[in-house]
Every structure is written in structure tokens, then in C-alpha cells.
Amino acid sequence: MNNNLVSTSMEKSFGKSLLYTLPMFLITFIFISGGKVDFSNLPAALAIVVTFLFMNILYFMMHYTGKTDKFRVILFIIFALSLSFTLIKNMMEMRHSMSFSQADLLECKIPFCHLVIPMMIIPAAFTKSIIFPGSVIGGFADISSMIILWLVATLVLGRGFCAWGCFYGGWDDGFSRFRKKSVIKKISESWRWMPFAVLFMVALTAAMTLGPTYCDWICPFKAVTEFEQISSVESVAKAVVFISLFLSLVVVLPVLTKKRTQCSFLCPMGAVNSLSNKITPFVVKIDKKACSECFKCVQVCPLFALTKEDVKNGKASVFCSKCGKCVDVCSKNAIHFGIKGVPAGTMKNFSRNLFLFVSFLFISVFSAGSIINAVQSIFKLLF
């Protein structure tokens, strides 16, 4: 009886959930619509209304059901798909192709992506130049606004950025949910450190070559965004690398392991964000008194952030993205969102409400543009 009471303690009544959703409702309305909806352009207005309602229903459901990851992942996957869609659509309109030419590089017309940031630091410090052929201010996905967005999100959410802000993460998160049970179960914990090795190598090569080596040679998401025009053996080799990494780390391995393998084993940004987990105020805590050590949380963690030792020690590792999957699965409500400095097992509801408000606000504001664009295109296609 007591267990049942504990397991449902994050749920709220319908009225209370509505009340909690109200601030999000107002803020997202202002951010998404700019304060008013112009119905003279019907597809655009409908896309705004649909996106706005969809986001707020998800947020409401998080409070009403007490489940976090179940609803977060819906928005996260749609964000990833809509961003790729929007980006490809823009490329097709601007260049009539998904590939970019040398002229596009010279004219700095490449949209900026947060994965470049770790590679930019050393060259920027020594040469006072940015090693990315994008627009610094203004234009689509310019460098300065992307850096500011990432910086704010990382300082507040830490590696939470990988579950609540990254516009690529939804791809492997989505594929990791295709099967009910994993085929590959045993993976050495040492592989968790791979993103740090990748970070080390790309930061080094970028510093020495003054070029964004990760984007040039490794990034699997080139397969679903933009890539270099095929014009030489080198560009063919790059395309082969991009496509094979995408198929293996973003599609096949997540399906087989039920883990976000690209984010766990490759992404250098994941390494940087893991380090920022040390300073962020939000953490996932484990109440050792309530924990029955069933280790379901270890099993479901998509980023190998929890080991049995971590559970016994009562804290998630630096790899935690605060996706909430472990929190959702814990029948004892022992694992929960917390705030640094507040003891585990206390202020669970307050911590969760605060974290959800901040993280959901970020993803909804960040993703709104892409989703509206995608929805609008679908409406135009249908009607």
C-alpha cells in the first residue's frame, strides 16, 4: 500500500496540473507567436497554434502523469526530425542541393552547429579567428546566437542539454526505442570515455589544422543535414564515413542496444557537457534509504550514466543527461530530480517542478521555429 502511494507521488490532480502548466502556457505563447497570431496566413497561423497546443499538452501530461521521459522524448524526436527537415528545405531553396560547394564555404554560408564549439576554443585563443565558415551575426543559425544559446543551456542544464536541447539527439534516442528488448546487452563501461578521446583528438587536430575536423571528417549527422559536394576521392571518403557512422551509431546500434550510442560513444559535445554537469544546479539524486537496488534504472539509462556502483553510492555519474528515464522507471521513487546541496530524498516535487519548468521552456522555445516550419510545410502539402 505504501509502495503504491510512493510510486504515484509525482502525479498531480487535473486542476493542479493545469495550474502548473499556466506559466508555461503564457511564456510559450509569447515566445512562439510574438504575442499575436496573424490569421491572414492560415497555414502559418495553424502551424503556430498546433505547435503551441502540442507543446503545452506534453508539459501538462508530464505533471498530470508524473512521467517525464515518456513525454520529453516525443518532443525531442519531433525536434530532431523537424530540424533536419527545415535545414534540408532551406538548403534546397537556397542552393537546390543538400551539398555545399567551395563557393558556399568561401562566402561563409554554412549554418553553425553547437558540435563545432569544442574545436573552436584553442584556435580562437591563439589566432583570434573562428575556424568555421558561417555567419558570425545574422542569417540562418549564426555563430554568436548558437554559442550564447548553448552556453546558457549548458550552464543551467549541464549535460541536460543532450536530452533537452540537442537537435540531433532525438535521432538515436528515437531509434533506441524501436525494440522492446536489447539484443546486445554487455558493453564495457570503458567505452563511456570514448567521447573524451574524440574530443581530445578533434580539439588537437582542429588546433593544428585550423579547421573543424569533426565536421569535416566525422559528424554522422552530415548524412541528414548537409555535406561537401562530391568532387574528389577525399569527398567520397568523407561521405562514406558520414553515412557509415550514421547507419551504425545512430540507427543500427541504438536499435540493438536500446542505448543512445552516438551520444554515448562519439559526440565530443557530450564530453564537454558532461564536464559542465559539475557546475549545473540540477542533478539526479538517489535516495539510498528508499532504493531497493533492483537496478532497473541502470538497465534503462540510455547513456551508460548509471552503474550499480553509482546506485549504491547514491548519485548518478557525470554522464547523466537528466532525461528522466530512470526516474520514470523507479517504482520506489528513490531516484529523482534534485538540486545541488539539497539532500537526496527531500524536496522531490519542488526540484522536479523547477527542473521541468526550466528544461521544458528551453526545449520548447528552441525547437518551436523548426517544428512550426515543418508543420506549416505539411499543411501546405496537404491543403
Partner: protein, 214 residues
């Protein structure tokens, strides 16, 4: 363009990434000995300098020898592209295997040197054995030395490899104070595997270039 630049720095990256594995197996054998007894700053500096100088000398000798053999064996430009390409791929696969294998050598081959009863000779012998330890990374850099068109380029490749691998040895006197050594070692080993991947790409590109020119 990018590959050209990458090829200039790949020796350094190879040294830097594999230096951690080298340190993992040999550092703990060599430096407790170098720092043992009444070790003052001057003695440690002198021993370290002799150790590095010996390694550099051995590398320059290897650079000369590999370049000479390259000139003799790879006279045909197509062969000069295809054979190193194949060697790069083979050794890079070995390097990756070395980085992921649980059976990788954890015993330092230069361990026996510390048993020699001549204090002054030890840093020199350590430098020699450490430089010619048969590991995939050395085979890769020898292949690079052999495929360079001039002796100076071969020297540059070995010098970059030497600098990259030596950086790991510099903070060794502070090894006891470094926290999370295991994590750093794991990252270093994984980086070695990534260096292997770079050389596989280099090998494939060299091979394709050779086949196209054939």
C-alpha cells in the same frame, strides 16, 4: 587540402595518442627508478634529458634508415603509393586492436634495464629500448619515414612523433599527485584507437591514389 595538412600533423597526433599507452606500460617502471634514492631536481632533470636525447637520437637514426630503405624499395611511384598504403592499413588495424584488446602488453619491455648495475647507462638504455619497442605505432611511423620523398621530411615526421609521445612523460614526476589516473589512461588508450582510424583513412587514400595512377 585538408588531408595534406593532416598528413603533416599525423605523426604528432600518432605520438601524442600512443604516448599514453607507452606511458601506461613503461612509465611506472622507468620513473620510480629515475627518481629513486637521493634524487634532486638536477639529477632528475639530467636523467630525463639524457633519456629524451637518446630517444631523439634513435628516432633520427630510424628516420634515416627507413627513408633509405624507402628509396631503395619504393623506386616506382605507384609502388611508393600502394605498398605504404597497405602497410598503413595493416599497422593501423594492429594499433586499433592493440587499443581495444584486453590482452595488450602490460609489461614494460625495458623493465630489465633497471636491473643493470650502472647508474649512468640506465637513462640511455631506457631511451634506446623505449624508442625501438616493437609496437604498431613505431611500424606506422617507420612506414611514413620510408614513404617520404626527402630525408628532411622523414626527420620531420619522426621529430613530430617524438614530441607527441614525449609530452606524456613530462608530468611523470607529478604522477603520484594526478587524480583519476585510470580514467586518463582509458581515454589515452581510446585515443590510440582513433589515431589508428586516421591512419586507416590515410592508407586507403594512398592506396586509391596509387591504383588510380597505375
Amino acid at each position: 587540402m585538408f588531408l595534406d595538412i593532416l598528413f603533416m600533423v599525423d605523426s604528432f597526433i600518432l605520438g601524442l595518442s600512443t604516448g599514453s599507452a607507452c606511458l601506461l606500460t613503461c612509465g611506472m617502471v622507468m620513473f620510480p627508478y629515475l627518481l629513486a634514492g637521493s634524487a634532486d631536481v638536477w639529477r632528475i632533470t639530467a636523467d630525463l634529458s639524457i633519456f629524451f636525447l637518446t630517444r631523439l637520437t634513435v628516432y633520427f637514426l630510424l628516420a634515416t634508415a627507413s627513408w633509405y630503405f624507402g628509396q631503395v624499395l619504393f623506386m616506382n611511384p605507384v609502388v611508393k603509393s600502394i605498398v605504404p598504403g597497405i602497410l598503413y592499413i595493416v599497422f593501423a588495424v594492429m594499433l586499433i586492436w592493440y587499443s581495444i584488446s584486453r590482452k595488450r602488453q602490460l609489461q614494460c619491455p625495458s623493465g630489465f634495464v633497471t636491473t643493470i648495475d650502472n647508474r649512468r647507462l640506465i637513462p640511455i638504455l631506457l631511451g634506446v629500448v623505449n624508442s625501438i619497442g616493437f609496437c604498431p605505432a613505431l611500424f606506422i611511423i617507420l612506414t611514413k619515414g620510408a614513404s617520404e620523398s626527402t630525408l628532411v621530411q622523414s626527420y620531420k615526421a619522426f621529430l613530430a612523433f617524438f614530441i607527441g609521445s614525449s609530452l606524456w612523460f613530462l608530468p611523470l614526476p607529478l604522477a603520484g599527485k594526478i587524480r583519476k589516473k585510470k580514467v586518463l589512461q582509458t581515454i589515452g588508450i581510446l585515443a590510440t584507437g582513433l589515431a589508428g582510424i586516421i591512419f586507416i583513412i590515410k592508407g586507403i587514400t594512398s592506396l586509391i591514389g596509387g591504383l588510380i595512377n597505375e
